[in-house]
C-alpha cells in the first residue's frame, strides 16, 4: 500500500447533497455559440463563477432556449454530447471536469473497504460492492508514460460495473487490421478484431491497459480510462518486417477463452516458414500438421478430420463451397496462399450457421485488397509461379485483389527427351479475384470469384481434367449498434471429364458436373453483456449431372448416354446464443434445423422390401415431375458447447453436437480420386448422420507464451456410404445396387503444446485416434467383414507432428517439420488361386493389415531480404528439403497378375529427399 493515489474526489464535508431549490432558475437562449460564451452569459445572470480549461471547450458549439430553468439543468443539456461533467460548490463556484465526476460524499463503505481495494495491484471491479468514485493509479511504474485515453462521460447515477468499448483498428494506410488480438493486461479479458478491423469488448469501469498483438503489427499498449460506453478507434503501425513465428496461432487467449471445442485458426503469414515440398506455401498442408486432421497419405487428396471421411468437410472460400481443393492429386492445394487471409477450421463443435457436412468446416477467407495503394506479392518456385496484385479502385473505399497461379510442368514435359513423358500432360492453374467496397460505415460489399482447373494424362490415350468454379457475394449491413446482418449469395460448380482416344471403336468423352447455389442470411444481435445471438436462414439448391458420355470421332461406336440430373434443396434455420452465465461459465447454445428435399424430375427405382438392392429385386420405376418432392429428410442439429474457467488461465470445455449430410462422394478408391462423383440423397440413399461429444482442458502458461490443450472426442456416424467390392460407380444408373450404407464410430485424444514466442517457437501435436466402419446386412452381398466393425482406410492410431522454427537473426531462420504416423490399414492378398489358366491373389477381409509406419523430416532455411524501408520490393528466399531422411514411405501396395504370375509392388510418392528453392517478393 505504498502507492500514491491522486484522488479526484473533493471531500466537501459541509453538506451532504445539493438541494435543488438552492440553485437559481434563469431564462437564457443560445444559438450556435461557443460554450465559453454561453457560460459567460450564465455567469452574467447569476453569481456563479465557472472554472475550466479553455482547451476542453474548443470548437464546442451549443444551441438552446431555456425559460426559468435551473442552472444545473441548463448545464446538463449543454454538456450532454460532451465528456464534460460539472460540480457546483457551495460558494457559487462551478467546476467543469473532463470525464470525471465529482463526488461530494464517499460511498457508505468507503473506509471499511479501503484496505481491500487498494491492496490489490489493480482496482478490480470485482471487489467493488457498490460503485463509488473512480480512482486512477497514476504511479504505476511499468505503465508510466503510456498514452492515456479517457473514454465516455462519467455518470453519477451509473450502477453498471462494465461498459462496452468498441472501435476500429487500422494500419497506417487506413486498411482495417483483422484478427488482431486485444488483451486487457492483468484481467482475463480479450477479444480480437473482425475482418473489418472492428472490435467490441466489455471492460470493467476504470483503468484498463489494452495491449494489442498481431503479426506484422507493432505491439501497442494504451491506458484507457473508461467512464462509460464508448468508441476508441486507433491506428497501429506495421512492424518493419514480418519475421515472426511460424504458425497457427489462435488469438492469444482463445485457447482458454472461447467456448467452442476443436477450433483452429491458421494465418497464412505465419506458415511461410514451414518447410514445403516443391516450393508451395500451403494452408491446407499446414492444417494437416495439427491434431485431428490427416490425409490418407502423400498424394492423397482430401482430409480426414477426427475419423471422418473425406466427403465430410465443408471447404468454404469466402462462403462458397470448393469441392476439390487440390491440384495434382493433392500434392498442391488449389487455394492460392498469397490471396488467402486466414482459415478457421472447426473440427469439434461446428457453429450453428454451418451445416451439410459431418466432420468439419474449413472457413477460408480471402484477404481484402489494399484500398490505399497498389501492392503485390509473387513467388517463383520450381514447379509453379504465383502472383497476387492488389489495387485500390476508389481510394479508401474499395479495392480489387487478383491472384493467379500456374504450373509450367507442361512446358517442361514437352522439352523432355523421354517419349512417354513428353506426350504426357500435367497442368493446373487457379485464379481468384476479390472486390471489397465499403459503401459507408453501415454497409460493406465483398465479391469473390474463383476458378481452378487441372488437366493431366496418365496414359497416352486419355486426358483427365477437373475444375472448380465459384462466385460469392456478401453484403454486410449494420442495422444498429447491436444488430448487424449479412446477406450471402454463392454459387459453385465442380466438374470433371475424361477424354479417351484409343485404337478401338470405343473413343469417348465423359463428363460429370455438380452445381450448388446458396442464399444465406445471418444476423448478429448483441443483446446484452450476457447474451449474444446469431441467427439466420439458408437455402441451397443442388443440381448434379451424374455423368454423360458421348462418342469421340466418327469411328466411335460409343452411344451417347446421360444419367438423369439429380436435384435437391437443403434448407436450414439456425439460432445460437452465446450466454455468459457468469464470469467463469460461458455456454454457446446453438440449434439448427435442417431440411432436405430430393426434387424431380427423376425416375426412382423401387426394390422389393426386405431384399438386397440388385437387378433381381428391382420392382418398378417411379416417375417424378419437375420440382416434385421425391423424399424428404431432416431434423434438428444440436450445437452445444460450454467453457468453464477453473483458474484464469485454465479452462475446461465440453461440447455435444450432431449433423446431417445429404450429399455423398462415390468412390471405389481407398483414397480420393479426381473421378469421384458426388451423389445426392434420394429414395434409396439416406443422409449420413453424425453425433459427437468432446471434452477438453486448456491451459496457458507464462502469460500465454505456452498453450496446452488436451481434447478427447467420441463420434458415432450412421448411413456412411460405402461400396461393394468391385463396384462400378461411374455412369451407373442404378448406383444404389453398388453401394452400402453402414455405421461408423471414431474416438480419440488430441494433445497440442504450442510456443508462440521467442527465438524457438513451434508446436508439438500428438493424437491417438481410431476410426471404424461397420457394413452389416442380413444379405451376404451387402456385408463386409462378416458385418463386424473394421478399421477405416484412414485409421492411423498414433500421429505425432512437430513443427519448430528457430530465428537466428531477424533475417535468417530455420525450420523443421517432423511427422510420424502409424501406417494406414490396407487389404492384403493372403493367398493365391488358379483360375482361368492364370494365377490370382485373393484378399483378406477389408483393412486387416497395415502398410509400414510413415515418418518424414523436412527442413528449411529462410532468408529475408534487407529491411531498408525505401526499396522496391521485399524479398524472401526459402530453401527447403522435403523428406531429408529419404524414407521410402509406402503409399500403397498392389498385386498384379503379369503373364499368369503374381507380382507385388509398393508405390511411394517422394522416396528421396526433394530439395526446393523458392523466391518470393512483395511490393
Amino acid at each position: 500500500m505504498k502507492k500514491l493515489f491522486t484522488i479526484i474526489v473533493l471531500l466537501v464535508s459541509t453538506q451532504y447533497a445539493i438541494a435543488q431549490e438552492e440553485i437559481p432558475k434563469i431564462s437564457v437562449s443560445f444559438t450556435n455559440v461557443d460554450v465559453s460564451r454561453a457560460l459567460e452569459m450564465i455567469e452574467n445572470k447569476t453569481d456563479y463563477k465557472f472554472y475550466y480549461l479553455d482547451e476542453w471547450l474548443e470548437n464546442v458549439k451549443v444551441t438552446g432556449d431555456f425559460q426559468d430553468t435551473q442552472v444545473s439543468l441548463i448545464l446538463d443539456d449543454l454538456f450532454k454530447n460532451t465528456v464534460l461533467n460539472f460540480y457546483i460548490s457551495d460558494d457559487q463556484k462551478i467546476f467543469l471536469l473532463q470525464n470525471n465526476q465529482i463526488y461530494d460524499s464517499l460511498p457508505d463503505d468507503f473506509f471499511g473497504e479501503q484496505e481491500d481495494q487498494l491492496s490489490d495491484e489493480e482496482i478490480g471491479y470485482e471487489q467493488l460492492k457498490d460503485l463509488g468514485p473512480l480512482f486512477v493509479n497514476s504511479n504505476d511504474g511499468a505503465n508510466r508514460g503510456l498514452e492515456v485515453v479517457k473514454i465516455g462521460r462519467e455518470n453519477r447515477n451509473n450502477r453498471r460495473r462494465t461498459f462496452t468499448l468498441s472501435g476500429k483498428i487500422v494500419n497506417a494506410k487506413g486498411q482495417p487490421i483483422p484478427d488482431l488480438a486485444l488483451i486487457i493486461k492483468g484481467k482475463d479479458i480479450g477479444t480480437s478484431t473482425n475482418a473489418s478491423g472492428n472490435y467490441t469488448v466489455e471492460l470493467p469501469v476504470g483503468e484498463n491497459i489494452i495491449e494489442t498483438r498481431g503479426l506484422g503489427i507493432q505491439d501497442s499498449r494504451t491506458k484507457v480510462i473508461l467512464y462509460n460506453d464508448g468508441v476508441f478507434n486507433f491506428q497501429l503501425d506495421e512492424s518493419v518486417e514480418v519475421l515472426d513465428e511460424v504458425v497457427v496461432q489462435a488469438n492469444r487467449d482463445r485457447n482458454v477463452e472461447a467456448a467452442l471445442t476443436g477450433v483452429t485458426l491458421i494465418e497464412v503469414e505465419k506458415i511461410k516458414n514451414i518447410p514445403l515440398v516443391l516450393g508451395e506455401r500451403d494452408i491446407l498442408k499446414a492444417a494437416v500438421t495439427l491434431p485431428g486432421i490427416t490425409t490418407a497419405g502423400e498424394g492423397a487428396a482430401g482430409f480426414n478430420v477426427r475419423g471422418g471421411r473425406t466427403d465430410q468437410n465443408l471447404i468454404l472460400l469466402d462462403n462458397g463451397v470448393i469441392y476439390n481443393p487440390s491440384h495434382f492429386f493433392g500434392i498442391f492445394s488449389a487455394i492460392n496462399p498469397f490471396s488467402t487471409g486466414s482459415a478457421e477450421i472447426y473440427k469439434g463443435n461446428i457453429p450453428a450457421e454451418y451445416g451439410g457436412r459431418l466432420s468439419s468446416v474449413f472457413d477460408i477467407t480471402t484477404k481484402d485488397g489494399n484500398t490505399e495503394k497498389f501492392a503485390g506479392e509473387a513467388s517463383i518456385g520450381p514447379v509453379t509461379s504465383n502472383i497476387v496484385l492488389e489495387a485500390p479502385i476508389v481510394k479508401d473505399k474499395s479495392a480489387l485483389l487478383v491472384g493467379g497461379r500456374a504450373t509450367y510442368s507442361d512446358w517442361i514435359l514437352r522439352s523432355l527427351d523421354d517419349e512417354q513423358l513428353n506426350n504426357s500432360t500435367a497442368s493446373f492453374f487457379d485464379v481468384v479475384a476479390k472486390y471489397n467496397h465499403t459503401i459507408n460505415e453501415n454497409n460493406e460489399i465483398k465479391a469473390t470469384g474463383y476458378f481452378s482447373r487441372d488437366a493431366f494424362s496418365i496414359t497416352s490415350d486419355s486426358i483427365f481434367d477437373y475444375s472448380n468454379r465459384l462466385v460469392s457475394l456478401k453484403w454486410d449491413h449494420k442495422f444498429s449498434e447491436k444488430t448487424t446482418g449479412s446477406l450471402i449469395l454463392s454459387n459453385s460448380e465442380y466438374k470433371f471429364g475424361i477424354e479417351f482416344d484409343g485404337e478401338s471403336n470405343d473413343d469417348f468423352d465423359l463428363g460429370y458436373k455438380n452445381n450448388e447455389t446458396e442464399v444465406k442470411i445471418k444476423m448478429k444481435y448483441l443483446h446484452s453483456d450476457k447474451h449474444k445471438f446469431d441467427y439466420g436462414i439458408s437455402s441451397k439448391l443442388y443440381v448434379v449431372d451424374p455423368g454423360d458420355i458421348v462418342p469421340l470421332g466418327a469411328q466411335s461406336d460409343v452411344s451417347s448416354l446421360t444419367i438423369p440430373q439429380e436435384r435437391g434443396l437443403e434448407s436450414a434455420v439456425f439460432i445460437s446464443d452465446s450466454y455468459k452465465v457468469n464470469d467463469k461459465l460461458l455456454i454457446d447454445m446453438g440449434l439448427r434445423f435442417s431440411f432436405y428435399a430430393a426434387l424431380g424430375a427423376s425416375s426412382q427405382r423401387i426394390y422389393q422390401d426386405n431384399a438386397p438392392l440388385n437387378s433381381g429385386t428391382f420392382v418398378e420405376t417411379q416417375e417424378f415431375d419437375k420440382n416434385e418432392v421425391i423424399e424428404t429428410y431432416g431434423g434438428p442439429e444440436v450445437r452445444l458447447s460450454a467453457r468453464y474457467f477453473i483458474k484464469p488461465d485454465l479452462s475446461v470445455k465440453a461440447s455435444l453436437n450432431n449433423a446431417y449430410q445429404y450429399i455423398h462422394t462415390l468412390s471405389n478408391n481407398t483414397t480420393v480420386s479426381p473421378t469421384d462423383t458426388w451423389k445426392l440423397s434420394d429414395l434409396n440413399i439416406e443422409p449420413q448422420e453424425a453425433y459427437q461429444a468432446s471434452l477438453g482442458l486448456y491451459k496457458n502458461f507464462e502469460g500465454n507464451k505456452y498453450e496446452l490443450s488436451v481434447e478427447g472426442y467420441y463420434k458415432q456416424q450412421k448411413n456412411l456410404l460405402d461400396y461393394k467390392v468391385g463396384a462400378q460407380l461411374l455412369l451407373n444408373e442404378a448406383i444404389e445396387t453398388e453401394v452400402l450404407q453402414g455405421d461408423g464410430k471414431a474416438y480419440g485424444v488430441e494433445f497440442l503444446l504450442k510456443k508462440s514466442e521467442g527465438k524457438l517457437n513451434g508446436w508439438l501435436g500428438y493424437t491417438y485416434s481410431r476410426s471404424f466402419v461397420k457394413l452389416d446386412s442380413e444379405f451376404n452381398e451387402e456385408r463386409v467383414n462378416n458385418g463386424d466393425f473394421f478399421p477405416s482406410n484412414f485409421d492411423k492410431p498414433h500421429d505425432i507432428s512437430v513443427v519448430a522454427n528457430y530465428k537466428f537473426t531477424r533475417r535468417f531462420s530455420a525450420s523443421a517439420n517432423f511427422v510420424y504416423q502409424t501406417g494406414r490399414p490396407v487389404t492384403f492378398p493372403i493367398g493365391s488361386f488358379s483360375f482361368n489358366n492364370s494365377e490370382f491373389v485373393f484378399y483378406s477381409d477389408r483393412n486387416k493389415f497395415r502398410i509400414p509406419d510413415y515418418y518424414r523430416l523436412d527442413l528449411s532455411f529462410n532468408m529475408e531480404g534487407n529491411h531498408k524501408i525505401k526499396k522496391f520490393a521485399h524479398s524472401f528466399w526459402s530453401f527447403s528439403i522435403y523428406n531429408v531422411l529419404g524414407r521410402n514411405n509406402p503409399y500403397s501396395v498392389f498385386f498384379v497378375t503379369q503373364d499368369g504370375d503374381i507380382k507385388a509392388f509398393q508405390s511411394s510418392i517422394f522416396s528421396i529427399p526433394v530439395p526446393t528453392i523458392t523466391y518470393n517478393f512483395k511490393f
Partner: protein, 407 residues
C-alpha cells in the same frame, strides 16, 4: 547464370519425374495369415460336350501350385429336375459323365459336396443370348504405346436384346524353325578319363515344331454403352513384331463367351484387382464374392464363379511374309551365342570334363567344326556349338503337326 539455369532445370525435371513416376518397386510379400478356401472354376456352355469343372484350394505365396480338391460330389441341376452328374477324371478335374449342352430358358445350379460333408451351391443361372463371332482378322499396327506388331481383332453384331458382355479366350499355335538346326549330332564315346565326343547322324526331327499356348489374362469387352450391340475392332491380342512366335506361320483360335451381367462384373472385378493401376489411386480390394455360397455357414468363404454362357469360336492363320514381306525375321527365342567348349580343363589326373558333360546333359547343338582347333592346347574345343534351343525346336514345342493345322 547459365549454371543457375541448368540447376534450375535439373530441379524441375526431377520434381516432375517424381510426380509422374513416383517410385514403384517390386517386393516379395511376406507370408502372413492364410485362408485355405475352395476355388471353383466352372463354365458350361451351349456346346454339346463333356463339360469340365475344376475344384482347387487356394495356396499360400510360398507354395507354387494349387492343390486339387479331390473326392467331391459335383452335379448341375437343370430346372430342379434334370441332373448332370460329374466324376473326377483327374485330381481336381470333374468331367460330366454324359455330354450335354445348356439350353436357353432353363435354370442351372451347381451343387458341390466336399469329402468332409460340407456343401456349396451356386445361384441359379440362365443362358444369356449370344451370337457368333462375325469376323476375326489381323492387321499390322502400331499400338497406343508406339510398339509395332500384329493386332488380332474381333467384330461381331448381336441382337439388341442379347447379352452385351463378352469374354474372350484364345489358343495360339505357331510354327517354330530352329535357326541353327544341323543334321549332325554329337555323341559321347566312353573313355577312361573324359568321354570322347564324336559326330553322328541325327535320328529325330528337331527342325520344325508347333507350339500351342492358351491365353492367361482376362479379356473382356462390353457394348453396354454403345448405340448398337456391336463389337467392332476389338483387340483380342497384340503381338510385338520382335516376338519370335510371328516368325513363320501363326494361327489363333479365339473363343467368345457371351456372359450375363453378373458374370461380367465378377470377371471385371477380378481383372481390376490384378492389373496395374495408377500410382495415385488404389481400387478398394476385398474378398470377391462370386455366385457360390456355403449351404450351412454364411461366413464360410468360397471363391470362383459358376458361369453359364454362349460360346462361339473362330480360327485364322497368317504368315510373317504376308505382313512383313522381305523384312528381317524377329529375333529367335534365344540369342544363339556360338561357342567352342573345350573338351576338358585342368592338367591333373582328374581333369574337369566340359564338352562331354554338355553333350551328356543335352545342352548344346553342333553347328560346324572349329577351324582354329589344333589339339588339346587350343583356346577352344573342336566344335562350334549353340545352346540346344537354337538347333532343337522341341525345347519350345512339338514336332507333331496339329490336326487342325493348315499350311
Amino acid at each position: 547464370m547459365k549454371l543457375l539455369k541448368k540447376h534450375f532445370c535439373f530441379l524441375v525435371v526431377i520434381s516432375i519425374v517424381l510426380l509422374f513416376i513416383g517410385c514403384v518397386e517390386e517386393f516379395i510379400p511376406r507370408a502372413g495369415e492364410f485362408n485355405d478356401i475352395l476355388v471353383v472354376e466352372a463354365t458350361v456352355t451351349n456346346e454339346m460336350k463333356h463339360h469340365k469343372i475344376y475344384l482347387n484350394r487356394t495356396y499360400s505365396f510360398e507354395d507354387e501350385i494349387a492343390l486339387a480338391e479331390t473326392n467331391a460330389q459335383v452335379m448341375i441341376l437343370e430346372d430342379s429336375n434334370n441332373q448332370h452328374m460329374f466324376e473326377e477324371s483327374e485330381p481336381g478335374v470333374y468331367t460330366s459323365i454324359n455330354a450335354f449342352n445348356v439350353v436357353p430358358g432353363a435354370n442351372y445350379q451347381l451343387k458341390i459336396t466336399m469329402k468332409d460333408g460340407s456343401s456349396f451351391s451356386s445361384d441359379k443361372m440362365t443362358l444369356p443370348q449370344g451370337s457368333a463371332i462375325d469376323s476375326l482378322y489381323t492387321e499390322r499396327i502400331v499400338n497406343d504405346f508406339g510398339e509395332e506388331g500384329m493386332g488380332i481383332y474381333v467384330d461381331n453384331t448381336n441382337a439388341q436384346e442379347g447379352s452385351k458382355n463378352f469374354r474372350y479366350e484364345y489358343i495360339e499355335t505357331y510354327k517354330v524353325i530352329a535357326p541353327d538346326w544341323n543334321s549332325v549330332a554329337l555323341v559321347n564315346v566312353p573313355q577312361p578319363v573324359c568321354p570322347m565326343v564324336i559326330k553322328a547322324g541325327r535320328e529325330r526331327e528337331e527342325r520344325v515344331c508347333y507350339t500351342s499356348k492358351s491365353s492367361n489374362g482376362i479379356i473382356l469387352t462390353s457394348t453396354d454403352n454403345f448405340d448398337e450391340n456391336r463389337v467392332q475392332r476389338f483387340l483380342v491380342r497384340f503381338i510385338d513384331r520382335s516376338n519370335y512366335i510371328l516368325s513363320h506361320r501363326y494361327s489363333i483360335l479365339v473363343k467368345q463367351y457371351a456372359q450375363s451381367n453378373a458374370a461380367h462384373s465378377f470377371y471385371e472385378a477380378l481383372k481390376e484387382f490384378s492389373s496395374s493401376e495408377s500410382l495415385f489411386s488404389e481400387t478398394q480390394p476385398g474378398f470377391l464374392e462370386g455366385n457360390l455360397h456355403s449351404d450351412s455357414d454364411r461366413n464360410k468363404q468360397v471363391l470362383g464363379y459358376f458361369d453359364v454362357s454362349t460360346v462361339s469360336e473362330k480360327r485364322i492363320y497368317f504368315d510373317y511374309e504376308d505382313y512383313f514381306p522381305g523384312e528381317e525375321l524377329p529375333p529367335y527365342a534365344d540369342p544363339c551365342q556360338r561357342a567352342a567348349p573345350k573338351v576338358a580343363a585342368g592338367h591333373s589326373s582328374e581333369p574337369r570334363c566340359i564338352l562331354p558333360v554338355l553333350v551328356e546333359m543335352d545342352l548344346i547343338r553342333y553347328v560346324t567344326d572349329n577351324s582354329s582347333y589344333t589339339g588339346p592346347q587350343s583356346e577352344g574345343g573342336p566344335f562350334i556349338t549353340v545352346p540346344r534351343v537354337c538347333g532343337d525346336c522341341t525345347v519350345l514345342g512339338s514336332t507333331e503337326i496339329p490336326t487342325f493345322w493348315e499350311e
